[in-house]
Point group: C2
Chain length 254, copies 2
DNA sequence: CGATAATTTGAATTAACTCAACTGTTGTGG
DNA sequence: CCACAACAGTTGAGTTAATTCAAATTATCG
Protein backbone atom coordinates (compact mmCIF):
# COMPACT_ATOMS: atom_id res chain seq x y z
CA UNK A 1 0.00 0.00 0.00
CA UNK A 2 0.91 3.64 -0.14
CA UNK A 3 3.28 2.94 -3.03
CA UNK A 4 4.21 5.92 -5.12
CA UNK A 5 2.08 5.81 -8.24
CA UNK A 6 5.16 5.74 -10.48
CA UNK A 7 6.51 2.58 -8.92
CA UNK A 8 5.43 -0.67 -10.52
CA UNK A 9 4.61 -3.24 -7.86
CA UNK A 10 6.17 -6.68 -7.80
CA UNK A 11 3.45 -8.53 -9.68
CA UNK A 12 3.45 -5.89 -12.39
CA UNK A 13 -0.03 -4.67 -11.57
CA UNK A 14 -0.82 -1.51 -9.69
CA UNK A 15 -4.15 -0.20 -8.53
CA UNK A 16 -4.22 2.39 -11.30
CA UNK A 17 -7.69 3.82 -10.90
CA UNK A 18 -6.69 6.30 -13.56
CA UNK A 19 -6.41 3.56 -16.18
CA UNK A 20 -9.22 1.42 -14.85
CA UNK A 21 -12.11 0.85 -17.20
CA UNK A 22 -14.39 0.81 -14.19
CA UNK A 23 -13.38 4.24 -12.94
CA UNK A 24 -16.62 5.90 -14.00
CA UNK A 25 -18.66 3.27 -12.16
CA UNK A 26 -16.55 3.34 -9.06
CA UNK A 27 -15.25 5.64 -6.40
CA UNK A 28 -13.07 7.76 -8.71
CA UNK A 29 -16.17 9.03 -10.52
CA UNK A 30 -16.22 12.81 -10.48
CA UNK A 31 -12.71 13.16 -9.05
CA UNK A 32 -10.05 15.15 -10.86
CA UNK A 33 -6.68 13.66 -11.81
CA UNK A 34 -4.91 14.79 -8.69
CA UNK A 35 -7.58 13.40 -6.38
CA UNK A 36 -7.65 10.08 -8.21
CA UNK A 37 -3.93 10.00 -7.66
CA UNK A 38 -4.40 10.43 -3.93
CA UNK A 39 -7.05 7.74 -3.91
CA UNK A 40 -4.78 5.33 -5.74
CA UNK A 41 -2.18 5.67 -3.04
CA UNK A 42 -4.42 4.17 -0.39
CA UNK A 43 -5.78 1.30 -2.47
CA UNK A 44 -4.44 -2.17 -2.00
CA UNK A 45 -4.57 -4.33 -5.08
CA UNK A 46 -5.05 -7.90 -3.94
CA UNK A 47 -4.04 -11.08 -5.68
CA UNK A 48 -6.88 -13.03 -7.35
CA UNK A 49 -9.36 -14.76 -5.09
CA UNK A 50 -10.19 -18.29 -6.21
CA UNK A 51 -13.72 -19.58 -6.64
CA UNK A 52 -15.22 -20.54 -3.31
CA UNK A 53 -12.80 -18.48 -1.26
CA UNK A 54 -14.16 -16.26 1.49
CA UNK A 55 -13.34 -12.54 1.48
CA UNK A 56 -14.84 -11.96 4.89
CA UNK A 57 -17.23 -13.62 7.28
CA UNK A 58 -19.65 -12.52 10.00
CA UNK A 59 -17.85 -11.19 13.03
CA UNK A 60 -14.71 -10.26 11.12
CA UNK A 61 -13.38 -6.86 12.01
CA UNK A 62 -14.30 -4.35 9.33
CA UNK A 63 -11.17 -2.81 7.89
CA UNK A 64 -11.79 -2.30 4.21
CA UNK A 65 -14.36 -1.85 1.54
CA UNK A 66 -13.88 -3.96 -1.57
CA UNK A 67 -14.57 -3.28 -5.21
CA UNK A 68 -14.87 -6.15 -7.64
CA UNK A 69 -12.53 -5.63 -10.59
CA UNK A 70 -13.18 -8.90 -12.42
CA UNK A 71 -15.21 -11.94 -11.45
CA UNK A 72 -18.20 -12.09 -9.14
CA UNK A 73 -18.87 -12.24 -5.41
CA UNK A 74 -21.94 -13.25 -3.49
CA UNK A 75 -22.80 -12.02 -0.01
CA UNK A 76 -24.95 -14.17 2.25
CA UNK A 77 -25.84 -15.10 5.78
CA UNK A 78 -26.17 -18.56 7.21
CA UNK A 79 -28.74 -19.87 9.66
CA UNK A 80 -27.92 -22.10 12.57
CA UNK A 81 -29.36 -24.93 10.48
CA UNK A 82 -26.68 -24.17 7.94
CA UNK A 83 -28.67 -22.91 4.97
CA UNK A 84 -27.56 -19.84 3.12
CA UNK A 85 -29.55 -16.70 2.51
CA UNK A 86 -28.10 -14.79 -0.40
CA UNK A 87 -28.10 -11.02 0.11
CA UNK A 88 -26.55 -9.89 -3.13
CA UNK A 89 -24.31 -10.50 -6.10
CA UNK A 90 -21.45 -8.15 -6.83
CA UNK A 91 -20.14 -7.70 -10.35
CA UNK A 92 -17.15 -5.71 -11.64
CA UNK A 93 -17.30 -2.08 -10.55
CA UNK A 94 -19.55 -2.84 -7.60
CA UNK A 95 -18.60 -2.26 -4.01
CA UNK A 96 -19.14 -4.50 -1.04
CA UNK A 97 -18.84 -4.15 2.70
CA UNK A 98 -20.86 -0.94 3.00
CA UNK A 99 -23.15 -2.52 5.59
CA UNK A 100 -20.22 -3.06 7.95
CA UNK A 101 -19.25 0.59 8.46
CA UNK A 102 -22.10 0.74 10.90
CA UNK A 103 -20.76 -1.43 13.69
CA UNK A 104 -17.18 -2.05 12.72
CA UNK A 105 -17.79 -5.71 12.00
CA UNK A 106 -19.01 -7.66 9.03
CA UNK A 107 -22.44 -9.20 9.30
CA UNK A 108 -22.36 -11.59 6.38
CA UNK A 109 -20.13 -13.79 4.28
CA UNK A 110 -18.57 -12.64 1.03
CA UNK A 111 -17.53 -15.49 -1.22
CA UNK A 112 -16.05 -15.51 -4.72
CA UNK A 113 -18.35 -17.20 -7.24
CA UNK A 114 -15.47 -17.47 -9.68
CA UNK A 115 -11.87 -16.36 -9.85
CA UNK A 116 -12.13 -12.75 -8.80
CA UNK A 117 -9.90 -9.73 -8.46
CA UNK A 118 -10.83 -7.07 -5.96
CA UNK A 119 -9.48 -3.67 -4.99
CA UNK A 120 -9.25 -3.21 -1.28
CA UNK A 121 -9.89 0.22 0.19
CA UNK A 122 -8.75 0.50 3.80
CA UNK A 123 -11.64 2.37 5.32
CA UNK A 124 -9.76 4.52 7.81
CA UNK A 125 -7.59 5.89 5.06
CA UNK A 126 -10.57 6.37 2.80
CA UNK A 127 -12.44 8.21 5.50
CA UNK A 128 -9.63 10.61 6.30
CA UNK A 129 -8.94 11.22 2.64
CA UNK A 130 -12.63 11.94 2.14
CA UNK A 131 -12.50 14.68 4.75
CA UNK A 132 -9.95 16.57 2.67
CA UNK A 133 -11.33 15.74 -0.77
CA UNK A 134 -14.93 17.00 -0.96
CA UNK A 135 -15.71 15.23 -4.21
CA UNK A 136 -14.55 11.93 -2.72
CA UNK A 137 -16.72 12.44 0.35
CA UNK A 138 -19.64 13.22 -1.90
CA UNK A 139 -19.04 10.17 -4.06
CA UNK A 140 -18.79 7.94 -0.99
CA UNK A 141 -22.09 9.25 0.33
CA UNK A 142 -23.63 8.79 -3.10
CA UNK A 143 -22.47 5.18 -3.19
CA UNK A 144 -23.99 4.47 0.21
CA UNK A 145 -27.19 6.22 -0.81
CA UNK A 146 -27.30 4.26 -4.03
CA UNK A 147 -27.04 1.05 -2.04
CA UNK A 148 -29.98 2.16 0.07
CA UNK A 149 -32.04 2.86 -3.04
CA UNK A 150 -31.13 -0.39 -4.68
CA UNK A 151 -32.11 -2.32 -1.59
CA UNK A 152 -35.37 -0.40 -1.33
CA UNK A 153 -36.13 -1.48 -4.88
CA UNK A 154 -35.34 -5.05 -3.94
CA UNK A 155 -37.75 -4.83 -1.02
CA UNK A 156 -40.41 -3.49 -3.32
CA UNK A 157 -39.76 -6.32 -5.75
CA UNK A 158 -40.07 -8.95 -3.05
CA UNK A 159 -43.20 -7.37 -1.64
CA UNK A 160 -45.13 -6.89 -4.81
CA UNK A 161 -44.05 -9.28 -7.49
CA UNK A 162 -44.71 -12.78 -8.71
CA UNK A 163 -41.97 -15.31 -9.25
CA UNK A 164 -42.00 -14.50 -12.95
CA UNK A 165 -41.58 -10.77 -12.34
CA UNK A 166 -38.76 -11.39 -9.91
CA UNK A 167 -36.74 -13.48 -12.30
CA UNK A 168 -37.43 -11.07 -15.15
CA UNK A 169 -36.27 -8.20 -12.97
CA UNK A 170 -33.16 -10.11 -11.94
CA UNK A 171 -32.22 -10.90 -15.52
CA UNK A 172 -32.79 -7.32 -16.61
CA UNK A 173 -30.66 -6.11 -13.74
CA UNK A 174 -27.82 -8.40 -14.80
CA UNK A 175 -28.29 -7.31 -18.39
CA UNK A 176 -28.07 -3.62 -17.45
CA UNK A 177 -25.04 -4.16 -15.30
CA UNK A 178 -23.17 -6.16 -17.93
CA UNK A 179 -24.04 -3.57 -20.53
CA UNK A 180 -22.72 -0.70 -18.46
CA UNK A 181 -19.46 -2.58 -18.02
CA UNK A 182 -19.13 -2.96 -21.76
CA UNK A 183 -20.28 -6.56 -22.02
CA UNK A 184 -23.19 -7.91 -24.00
CA UNK A 185 -26.57 -7.06 -22.53
CA UNK A 186 -28.19 -10.10 -24.11
CA UNK A 187 -25.62 -12.85 -23.94
CA UNK A 188 -23.88 -13.69 -20.69
CA UNK A 189 -22.97 -16.39 -18.22
CA UNK A 190 -24.49 -16.68 -14.78
CA UNK A 191 -21.84 -16.94 -12.10
CA UNK A 192 -24.34 -18.27 -9.57
CA UNK A 193 -26.38 -21.44 -9.20
CA UNK A 194 -30.18 -21.79 -9.45
CA UNK A 195 -30.08 -22.27 -5.71
CA UNK A 196 -28.34 -18.92 -5.24
CA UNK A 197 -30.78 -17.15 -7.55
CA UNK A 198 -33.70 -18.68 -5.71
CA UNK A 199 -32.32 -17.68 -2.36
CA UNK A 200 -31.70 -14.15 -3.58
CA UNK A 201 -35.19 -13.77 -5.05
CA UNK A 202 -37.03 -15.55 -2.28
CA UNK A 203 -37.98 -18.49 -4.48
CA UNK A 204 -37.45 -22.23 -4.35
CA UNK A 205 -34.72 -23.39 -6.69
CA UNK A 206 -37.27 -25.56 -8.47
CA UNK A 207 -39.33 -22.48 -9.21
CA UNK A 208 -36.32 -20.76 -10.73
CA UNK A 209 -35.61 -23.78 -12.88
CA UNK A 210 -39.22 -23.99 -14.08
CA UNK A 211 -39.21 -20.29 -14.92
CA UNK A 212 -36.07 -20.61 -17.03
CA UNK A 213 -37.79 -23.40 -18.90
CA UNK A 214 -40.95 -21.37 -19.36
CA UNK A 215 -39.08 -18.25 -20.50
CA UNK A 216 -37.32 -20.41 -23.04
CA UNK A 217 -40.58 -21.96 -24.23
CA UNK A 218 -41.99 -18.48 -24.73
CA UNK A 219 -38.98 -17.47 -26.78
CA UNK A 220 -37.83 -14.86 -24.27
CA UNK A 221 -34.59 -16.62 -23.43
CA UNK A 222 -32.23 -19.23 -24.71
CA UNK A 223 -30.79 -21.00 -21.69
CA UNK A 224 -28.08 -23.58 -21.62
CA UNK A 225 -26.96 -24.25 -18.10
CA UNK A 226 -25.18 -21.05 -17.01
CA UNK A 227 -25.31 -19.50 -20.44
CA UNK A 228 -28.21 -17.11 -20.94
CA UNK A 229 -29.19 -15.36 -24.14
CA UNK A 230 -31.98 -12.83 -24.00
CA UNK A 231 -33.96 -13.24 -27.19
CA UNK A 232 -36.74 -10.78 -26.46
CA UNK A 233 -35.63 -7.96 -24.22
CA UNK A 234 -38.85 -6.01 -24.71
CA UNK A 235 -41.00 -8.89 -23.57
CA UNK A 236 -38.80 -9.27 -20.50
CA UNK A 237 -39.29 -5.58 -19.72
CA UNK A 238 -43.01 -5.84 -20.32
CA UNK A 239 -43.21 -8.48 -17.61
CA UNK A 240 -42.56 -5.87 -14.95
CA UNK A 241 -44.07 -2.82 -16.64
CA UNK A 242 -47.31 -2.85 -14.74
CA UNK A 243 -45.74 -2.76 -11.29
CA UNK A 244 -43.29 0.01 -12.07
CA UNK A 245 -43.20 2.72 -9.40
CA UNK A 246 -42.46 6.34 -10.15
CA UNK A 247 -38.89 6.14 -11.41
CA UNK A 248 -37.38 2.73 -11.49
CA UNK A 249 -33.81 1.72 -10.87
CA UNK A 250 -33.91 -1.97 -11.55
CA UNK A 251 -33.29 -4.08 -8.50
CA UNK A 252 -29.58 -4.68 -8.57
CA UNK A 253 -27.47 -5.75 -5.71
CA UNK A 254 -24.74 -3.20 -5.51
CA UNK B 1 -31.48 28.79 9.28
CA UNK B 2 -27.94 29.58 10.27
CA UNK B 3 -29.26 31.45 13.31
CA UNK B 4 -26.75 32.07 16.04
CA UNK B 5 -27.31 29.49 18.72
CA UNK B 6 -27.84 32.16 21.36
CA UNK B 7 -30.73 33.74 19.50
CA UNK B 8 -34.16 32.37 20.34
CA UNK B 9 -36.22 31.97 17.21
CA UNK B 10 -39.65 33.54 16.86
CA UNK B 11 -41.70 30.53 17.90
CA UNK B 12 -39.57 30.09 20.98
CA UNK B 13 -38.15 26.76 19.91
CA UNK B 14 -34.65 26.26 18.61
CA UNK B 15 -33.12 23.13 17.18
CA UNK B 16 -31.22 22.49 20.41
CA UNK B 17 -29.60 19.17 19.61
CA UNK B 18 -27.74 19.63 22.86
CA UNK B 19 -30.94 19.36 24.88
CA UNK B 20 -32.66 16.85 22.61
CA UNK B 21 -33.54 13.55 24.20
CA UNK B 22 -32.90 11.92 20.86
CA UNK B 23 -29.34 13.18 20.54
CA UNK B 24 -27.77 9.80 21.26
CA UNK B 25 -29.92 8.17 18.57
CA UNK B 26 -29.33 10.84 16.01
CA UNK B 27 -26.63 12.64 14.15
CA UNK B 28 -25.08 14.33 17.22
CA UNK B 29 -24.06 10.94 18.61
CA UNK B 30 -20.35 10.91 19.33
CA UNK B 31 -19.87 14.62 18.72
CA UNK B 32 -18.39 16.87 21.37
CA UNK B 33 -20.17 19.97 22.66
CA UNK B 34 -18.53 22.34 20.22
CA UNK B 35 -19.32 20.18 17.21
CA UNK B 36 -22.94 19.73 18.28
CA UNK B 37 -23.08 23.49 18.46
CA UNK B 38 -21.90 23.77 14.88
CA UNK B 39 -24.42 21.18 13.81
CA UNK B 40 -27.25 23.04 15.53
CA UNK B 41 -26.52 26.14 13.51
CA UNK B 42 -27.36 24.46 10.23
CA UNK B 43 -30.52 22.71 11.39
CA UNK B 44 -33.89 24.09 10.52
CA UNK B 45 -36.58 23.35 13.03
CA UNK B 46 -39.85 23.10 11.11
CA UNK B 47 -43.37 23.73 12.37
CA UNK B 48 -45.46 20.60 13.03
CA UNK B 49 -46.61 18.62 10.02
CA UNK B 50 -50.23 17.56 10.25
CA UNK B 51 -51.43 14.00 9.71
CA UNK B 52 -51.68 13.22 6.03
CA UNK B 53 -49.35 16.01 4.95
CA UNK B 54 -46.59 15.24 2.48
CA UNK B 55 -42.98 16.04 3.37
CA UNK B 56 -41.70 15.27 -0.08
CA UNK B 57 -42.76 13.40 -3.16
CA UNK B 58 -41.05 11.58 -6.03
CA UNK B 59 -39.25 13.95 -8.33
CA UNK B 60 -38.82 16.65 -5.69
CA UNK B 61 -35.38 18.15 -5.61
CA UNK B 62 -33.40 16.70 -2.72
CA UNK B 63 -32.31 19.50 -0.41
CA UNK B 64 -32.50 18.14 3.10
CA UNK B 65 -32.46 15.09 5.25
CA UNK B 66 -35.15 14.93 7.91
CA UNK B 67 -35.16 13.52 11.40
CA UNK B 68 -38.43 12.73 13.12
CA UNK B 69 -38.60 14.44 16.52
CA UNK B 70 -42.12 13.43 17.49
CA UNK B 71 -44.83 11.60 15.56
CA UNK B 72 -44.38 9.15 12.72
CA UNK B 73 -43.77 9.24 8.98
CA UNK B 74 -44.27 6.61 6.32
CA UNK B 75 -42.36 6.48 3.07
CA UNK B 76 -43.95 4.83 0.06
CA UNK B 77 -44.12 4.66 -3.71
CA UNK B 78 -47.23 4.62 -5.82
CA UNK B 79 -47.93 2.60 -8.94
CA UNK B 80 -49.59 3.98 -12.03
CA UNK B 81 -52.72 2.14 -10.86
CA UNK B 82 -52.57 4.26 -7.72
CA UNK B 83 -51.83 1.71 -5.03
CA UNK B 84 -49.23 2.44 -2.41
CA UNK B 85 -46.19 0.37 -1.61
CA UNK B 86 -44.93 1.20 1.84
CA UNK B 87 -41.14 1.30 2.10
CA UNK B 88 -40.72 2.17 5.74
CA UNK B 89 -41.99 3.77 8.92
CA UNK B 90 -39.95 6.44 10.65
CA UNK B 91 -40.25 7.01 14.38
CA UNK B 92 -38.68 9.69 16.59
CA UNK B 93 -34.91 9.80 16.23
CA UNK B 94 -34.99 8.17 12.82
CA UNK B 95 -33.77 9.82 9.67
CA UNK B 96 -35.35 9.87 6.26
CA UNK B 97 -34.29 10.92 2.80
CA UNK B 98 -31.01 9.01 2.74
CA UNK B 99 -31.96 7.28 -0.49
CA UNK B 100 -32.15 10.63 -2.29
CA UNK B 101 -28.51 11.69 -1.88
CA UNK B 102 -27.75 9.39 -4.74
CA UNK B 103 -29.41 11.26 -7.61
CA UNK B 104 -30.37 14.58 -6.08
CA UNK B 105 -34.08 13.82 -6.24
CA UNK B 106 -36.50 12.03 -4.00
CA UNK B 107 -37.81 8.70 -5.24
CA UNK B 108 -40.72 8.20 -2.91
CA UNK B 109 -43.38 9.95 -0.89
CA UNK B 110 -42.95 10.83 2.78
CA UNK B 111 -46.22 11.39 4.58
CA UNK B 112 -46.98 12.14 8.21
CA UNK B 113 -49.02 9.37 9.84
CA UNK B 114 -49.89 11.70 12.71
CA UNK B 115 -48.98 15.20 13.80
CA UNK B 116 -45.24 15.15 13.45
CA UNK B 117 -42.32 17.43 14.15
CA UNK B 118 -39.18 17.02 12.09
CA UNK B 119 -35.74 18.55 12.11
CA UNK B 120 -34.57 19.52 8.67
CA UNK B 121 -30.89 19.20 7.81
CA UNK B 122 -29.96 21.05 4.63
CA UNK B 123 -27.71 18.51 2.98
CA UNK B 124 -25.21 20.87 1.38
CA UNK B 125 -24.47 22.45 4.72
CA UNK B 126 -24.32 19.09 6.39
CA UNK B 127 -21.91 17.79 3.81
CA UNK B 128 -19.52 20.73 4.06
CA UNK B 129 -19.66 20.66 7.84
CA UNK B 130 -18.89 16.94 7.73
CA UNK B 131 -15.71 17.63 5.82
CA UNK B 132 -14.38 19.69 8.70
CA UNK B 133 -15.80 17.64 11.56
CA UNK B 134 -14.46 14.09 11.28
CA UNK B 135 -16.78 12.66 13.89
CA UNK B 136 -19.78 14.08 12.03
CA UNK B 137 -18.59 12.58 8.77
CA UNK B 138 -18.14 9.28 10.51
CA UNK B 139 -21.58 9.42 12.09
CA UNK B 140 -23.17 10.27 8.75
CA UNK B 141 -21.48 7.31 7.11
CA UNK B 142 -22.54 5.12 10.01
CA UNK B 143 -26.15 6.22 9.60
CA UNK B 144 -26.10 5.41 5.90
CA UNK B 145 -24.46 2.09 6.60
CA UNK B 146 -27.00 1.32 9.28
CA UNK B 147 -29.78 1.97 6.78
CA UNK B 148 -28.14 -0.49 4.40
CA UNK B 149 -27.98 -3.14 7.13
CA UNK B 150 -31.53 -2.58 8.24
CA UNK B 151 -32.77 -2.92 4.69
CA UNK B 152 -30.71 -6.06 4.19
CA UNK B 153 -32.44 -7.53 7.24
CA UNK B 154 -35.78 -6.57 5.77
CA UNK B 155 -34.89 -8.33 2.53
CA UNK B 156 -33.92 -11.40 4.49
CA UNK B 157 -37.19 -11.26 6.39
CA UNK B 158 -39.23 -11.02 3.21
CA UNK B 159 -37.27 -13.80 1.56
CA UNK B 160 -37.34 -16.31 4.33
CA UNK B 161 -40.26 -15.80 6.63
CA UNK B 162 -43.89 -16.72 6.96
CA UNK B 163 -46.60 -14.14 7.53
CA UNK B 164 -46.51 -14.94 11.24
CA UNK B 165 -42.77 -14.39 11.48
CA UNK B 166 -43.00 -11.14 9.56
CA UNK B 167 -45.59 -9.65 11.85
CA UNK B 168 -43.77 -10.90 14.93
CA UNK B 169 -40.58 -9.31 13.64
CA UNK B 170 -42.36 -6.07 12.87
CA UNK B 171 -43.88 -5.86 16.34
CA UNK B 172 -40.55 -6.63 17.98
CA UNK B 173 -38.90 -3.97 15.88
CA UNK B 174 -41.46 -1.40 17.01
CA UNK B 175 -41.08 -2.59 20.58
CA UNK B 176 -37.31 -2.17 20.44
CA UNK B 177 -37.54 1.24 18.87
CA UNK B 178 -40.07 2.53 21.37
CA UNK B 179 -38.00 1.16 24.21
CA UNK B 180 -34.86 2.89 23.05
CA UNK B 181 -36.77 6.18 22.89
CA UNK B 182 -37.85 5.72 26.47
CA UNK B 183 -41.39 4.53 25.79
CA UNK B 184 -42.96 1.30 26.84
CA UNK B 185 -41.70 -1.73 24.95
CA UNK B 186 -44.91 -3.64 25.53
CA UNK B 187 -47.69 -1.09 25.32
CA UNK B 188 -47.95 1.27 22.40
CA UNK B 189 -50.15 2.64 19.65
CA UNK B 190 -49.71 1.85 16.01
CA UNK B 191 -49.57 4.97 13.90
CA UNK B 192 -50.25 3.03 10.71
CA UNK B 193 -53.21 1.10 9.32
CA UNK B 194 -53.43 -2.65 8.76
CA UNK B 195 -53.20 -1.82 5.09
CA UNK B 196 -49.89 -0.01 5.65
CA UNK B 197 -48.51 -2.85 7.74
CA UNK B 198 -49.54 -5.35 5.10
CA UNK B 199 -47.96 -3.32 2.33
CA UNK B 200 -44.76 -2.94 4.33
CA UNK B 201 -44.55 -6.65 5.14
CA UNK B 202 -45.66 -7.91 1.74
CA UNK B 203 -48.94 -9.30 3.09
CA UNK B 204 -52.61 -8.74 2.34
CA UNK B 205 -54.29 -6.53 4.90
CA UNK B 206 -56.69 -9.38 5.68
CA UNK B 207 -53.72 -11.57 6.59
CA UNK B 208 -52.45 -8.92 8.98
CA UNK B 209 -55.86 -8.66 10.58
CA UNK B 210 -56.15 -12.42 10.98
CA UNK B 211 -52.69 -12.59 12.52
CA UNK B 212 -53.53 -9.95 15.10
CA UNK B 213 -56.55 -12.01 16.01
CA UNK B 214 -54.50 -15.19 16.22
CA UNK B 215 -51.77 -13.60 18.30
CA UNK B 216 -54.45 -12.38 20.67
CA UNK B 217 -56.07 -15.82 20.86
CA UNK B 218 -52.70 -17.30 21.74
CA UNK B 219 -52.22 -14.76 24.52
CA UNK B 220 -49.23 -13.14 22.85
CA UNK B 221 -50.91 -9.79 22.33
CA UNK B 222 -53.83 -7.75 23.51
CA UNK B 223 -55.02 -5.72 20.55
CA UNK B 224 -57.66 -3.05 20.50
CA UNK B 225 -57.66 -1.24 17.22
CA UNK B 226 -54.39 0.74 17.14
CA UNK B 227 -53.54 -0.10 20.72
CA UNK B 228 -51.16 -3.04 21.10
CA UNK B 229 -50.02 -4.64 24.33
CA UNK B 230 -47.41 -7.33 24.15
CA UNK B 231 -48.36 -9.92 26.75
CA UNK B 232 -45.70 -12.49 25.98
CA UNK B 233 -42.54 -10.95 24.61
CA UNK B 234 -40.59 -14.19 24.84
CA UNK B 235 -43.11 -16.07 22.74
CA UNK B 236 -42.96 -13.30 20.15
CA UNK B 237 -39.19 -13.62 20.04
CA UNK B 238 -39.40 -17.39 19.84
CA UNK B 239 -41.46 -17.04 16.67
CA UNK B 240 -38.41 -15.86 14.75
CA UNK B 241 -35.69 -17.66 16.68
CA UNK B 242 -35.21 -20.45 14.23
CA UNK B 243 -34.53 -18.22 11.26
CA UNK B 244 -32.07 -15.95 13.03
CA UNK B 245 -28.91 -15.31 11.03
CA UNK B 246 -25.55 -14.74 12.60
CA UNK B 247 -26.11 -11.48 14.48
CA UNK B 248 -29.54 -10.03 14.12
CA UNK B 249 -30.57 -6.42 14.07
CA UNK B 250 -34.32 -6.72 13.95
CA UNK B 251 -35.81 -5.50 10.73
CA UNK B 252 -36.55 -1.88 11.42
CA UNK B 253 -37.03 0.80 8.89
CA UNK B 254 -34.59 3.49 9.81
C1' DC C 1 -76.58 11.15 12.74
C1' DG C 2 -75.40 9.37 8.53
C1' DA C 3 -71.73 8.38 5.31
C1' DT C 4 -67.28 6.84 4.39
C1' DA C 5 -63.43 4.37 5.65
C1' DA C 6 -61.12 0.73 8.36
C1' DT C 7 -61.27 -3.74 10.15
C1' DT C 8 -62.75 -8.35 10.83
C1' DT C 9 -64.27 -12.79 9.39
C1' DG C 10 -65.56 -16.47 6.03
C1' DA C 11 -65.08 -19.30 1.83
C1' DA C 12 -62.93 -20.48 -2.37
C1' DT C 13 -58.82 -20.09 -5.22
C1' DT C 14 -54.06 -20.20 -6.51
C1' DA C 15 -49.13 -19.42 -6.85
C1' DA C 16 -45.42 -21.27 -5.14
C1' DC C 17 -43.64 -24.83 -2.13
C1' DT C 18 -42.24 -29.43 -0.70
C1' DC C 19 -41.18 -33.97 -1.65
C1' DA C 20 -39.62 -37.18 -4.88
C1' DA C 21 -37.67 -39.12 -8.87
C1' DC C 22 -34.85 -38.59 -12.65
C1' DT C 23 -31.19 -36.62 -15.73
C1' DG C 24 -27.19 -34.44 -16.80
C1' DT C 25 -22.62 -32.50 -15.47
C1' DT C 26 -18.27 -32.30 -13.18
C1' DG C 27 -14.58 -33.86 -10.83
C1' DT C 28 -11.67 -37.78 -8.84
C1' DG C 29 -9.13 -41.85 -8.30
C1' DG C 30 -8.20 -46.50 -9.84
C1' DC D 1 -9.64 -43.08 -19.82
C1' DC D 2 -13.40 -44.77 -17.69
C1' DA D 3 -16.32 -45.53 -13.65
C1' DC D 4 -18.33 -43.67 -9.95
C1' DA D 5 -19.58 -40.38 -6.70
C1' DA D 6 -21.21 -36.03 -5.70
C1' DC D 7 -23.50 -32.28 -7.19
C1' DA D 8 -26.56 -29.24 -10.03
C1' DG D 9 -30.56 -28.94 -12.60
C1' DT D 10 -35.04 -30.48 -14.42
C1' DT D 11 -39.61 -32.23 -14.17
C1' DG D 12 -43.87 -34.11 -11.97
C1' DA D 13 -47.52 -34.47 -8.42
C1' DG D 14 -49.70 -33.23 -4.33
C1' DT D 15 -49.96 -29.78 -0.54
C1' DT D 16 -50.40 -25.47 1.63
C1' DA D 17 -49.92 -20.75 3.08
C1' DA D 18 -51.56 -16.78 1.78
C1' DT D 19 -54.40 -14.57 -1.49
C1' DT D 20 -58.70 -12.81 -3.56
C1' DC D 21 -63.42 -11.96 -3.36
C1' DA D 22 -67.32 -11.08 -0.57
C1' DA D 23 -69.96 -9.76 3.29
C1' DA D 24 -70.60 -8.14 7.83
C1' DT D 25 -69.10 -5.21 11.53
C1' DT D 26 -67.07 -1.41 13.70
C1' DA D 27 -64.79 3.25 13.83
C1' DT D 28 -64.33 8.00 12.43
C1' DC D 29 -65.55 12.43 10.89
C1' DG D 30 -68.04 16.22 8.90
Amino acid sequence: MGANSKVISIDGIKAACSNCSLATLCLPFGLDTEDVDRLERIIKRNRPVQRGQILYRPGDRFRSLFVVKTGAVKTFTQTAAGDEHVIGFHLPGEMLGLDAIQDDHHGCFAKALETTVVCELPFENLESLSASVPSLQHQLLRLLSREVSVEANMISLLNNSTAEERLASFLLSLSERFKRRGFSATDFFLAMSRQDIGSYLGLALETVSRLFTRFQEHGVLEVDRKHVQIKNLDELKRMLKHQTPCHTTLGQSS
